[in-house]
Amino acid sequence: MESISFKPEILERIIPDVSLERHLKIGIRSNQRLFDEFKNIQILSQKSSHLLTTSYIQNGNTLVICNISYGITELLGGETPEQYSSVYPTLSISRGRSGAPTDEEMNLSQKLYESTLHSRILPSNSLIFKPKVMIDDNLEDLDTNKQFKFNLFVNLKVFDRSGPLFDVCHFALVTSLKAVKLPVIYLNDSFVKLSIDNLLAYPDAELVPLRLNMEVPLVSSNFGLYNLDEKNLIICDLENESEESNIISKVNVVSDGKAFNEFTLINGSLLNITRDEIKSLLRTSKQRAKAINSV
């Protein structure tokens, strides 16, 4: 009987686990990157107006378009109990399908929401404001106890997905937040009732950059841990189906280059993960955050 041989690309499609193991055994990855090599990540362009902030982010072949817009809500009571707020992300991954959001899309947006809140980068009082009032073409302070708050809506669109998306979406969100500028909100007529329906954004006034509790952008990095010959291999920045679905012990670290804001570990294949391995992951993510922020 003749043995059938497949090209590497085809083998990766039909038996991804075998393909992955064979690649790793000879010390290469199917995406030609080194084990400790991350995909390049960069901001292609960024602009902001009084209505919208848009960034184009490229990560390997993946393109993410991030739009940040805002809405206004009235606060129910007086002071604010919590110090930090979050954004409201919606995310869609272009796959040539339409319909209800997939689990991946929902989970990613929820992760971004939780991450922004718990990283404490967005102080609530940078979003709270009192509207001005237009009197004879001049903006003047309005005498009121009512307080309003901007809600930031983040819309992410992902093209050419090739691996886990949290890193690139997080990067897109954080760098776009840095660029957000908020407009002056005013009541168009001092005789109408002060309610959300009567508030407008003033296009000619100078925009105020959003105040963040973040000196340099936070950077998220992901790693996979794979057991090969009784040793754990650390593989940075997973890509392709074969790595994503067969390396099920994963770590995600968010760092600003000094401290850490997030550490998540899912040990799907119940590996013995040593302290040194965790240390090296933390070190790599710190270095990567520093490198990205120094560009």
């Binding site: 129910l76 009571g77 007086g78 009121t144 106890n145 009512k146």
Partner: protein, 301 residues
């Protein structure tokens, strides 16, 4: 795996015993299972209706009212069946829609809860009261148990106290800052379902003048699997009929309906009394607890 099917033998056995006026659990045909009510924190109720177990929780939040009803609060009753209660609830079933519709009819549409009393500021802020039902174990008669549980939970629930300042800002008080307020429940609807069994064949039932159907109160899961039709009646202790539902199945003697309703009134009185005493006992316990806490704080000074 535990099954929810019933064999032909078992079906026959149930019907034969009903013909002789006995049921598998020893109850009389017109006897309901005695509900066991455990009240927890504000609005939290654990109800055992035989082996059917439901956890009911009432909560509140401040929302904007609907534009066509600017001075009315909202009441939302949320009930989803999960496979925890029984494997047969794996997919959204007809039962779920049916239960929700009857709870709607007997509680919300009968104005059991005074919605205008929930208005904080006309057109801007009203209370939304939500009742969440979790059915955790199923042994028949979800309709009666869910309706009963919802109304106890509403009576047991207390809304946080609040004040409005001149600018229309609301301050909501914690439960220990200012005593909370009970909801105004205008009447207590009690829902009871009656299952009908045809001891003879279908032809006999339709053509003859005799009406031999057996009517059974508060069916268990097995009885529900065997029954030929059912009737749901909601009444209150003022002997008022609130709603009546019978969706096809075998026809029943219309004169019999009045007798069944009479029996329902008796149960309504019994169950209303049970609700009142249970809630009262809980309130007294709470009162004692709070009183003791007050005494303690005086003591430490």
């Amino acid at each position: 795996m535990k099954s929810n099917d019933i064999s032909i033998n078992e079906t026959k056995y149930i019907i034969e015993s009903l013909k002789q006026g006995t049921r598998l659990d020893g109850r009389k045909l017109d006897e309901i299972r005695k509900p066991e009510v455990v009240l927890g924190d504000n609005g939290y109720v654990e109800l055992g209706w035989g082996q059917t177990k439901v956890v009911i929780k009432t909560s509140s939040e401040i929302v904007k009212p609907f534009e066509d009803r600017p001075n009315e609060g909202l009441l939302v009753i949320n009930n989803e069946l999960s496979p925890m209660a029984s494997i047969k609830f794996d997919e959204r079933s007809v039962d779920e829609v049916m239960i929700n519709r009857i709870i709607e009819k007997s509680i919300r549409k009968s104005n059991a809860l005074d919605l205008e009393g929930l208005c904080i500021k006309t057109g801007e802020k009203v209370w939304l009261i939500r009742v969440d039902l979790s059915i955790i174990n199923f042994d028949g008669n979800l309709i009666d148990s869910c309706c009963f549980g919802s109304i106890i939970s509403l009576i047991h629930f207390k809304l946080p106290n609040y004040s409005l300042d001149t600018n229309g800002n609301i301050k909501v008080y914690n439960l220990d800052e200012k005593p909370p307020i009970s909801l105004s429940v205008l009447h207590i609807p009690i829902t009871l379902s009656i299952s009908f069994f045809n001891p003879l064949n279908d032809e006999e039932n339709l053509k003859s003048n005799n009406n031999y159907e057996i009517s059974v109160f508060d069916a268990t899961m097995k009885e529900e699997l065997v029954r030929d039709s059912y009737l749901v009646v909601s009444v209150n202790s003022n002997k008022e009929l609130i709603q009546l539902t019978k969706l096809g199945g075998i026809p029943i003697d219309s004169v019999e309906l009045v007798n069944l309703c009479q029996r329902c009134y008796a149960y309504a009185e019994e169950l209303t009394e049970l609700i009142k005493t249970t809630v009262k006992r809980k309130e007294e316990e709470e009162f004692k607890r709070l009183n003791l806490r007050l005494l303690k704080s005086v003591d430490t000074r």
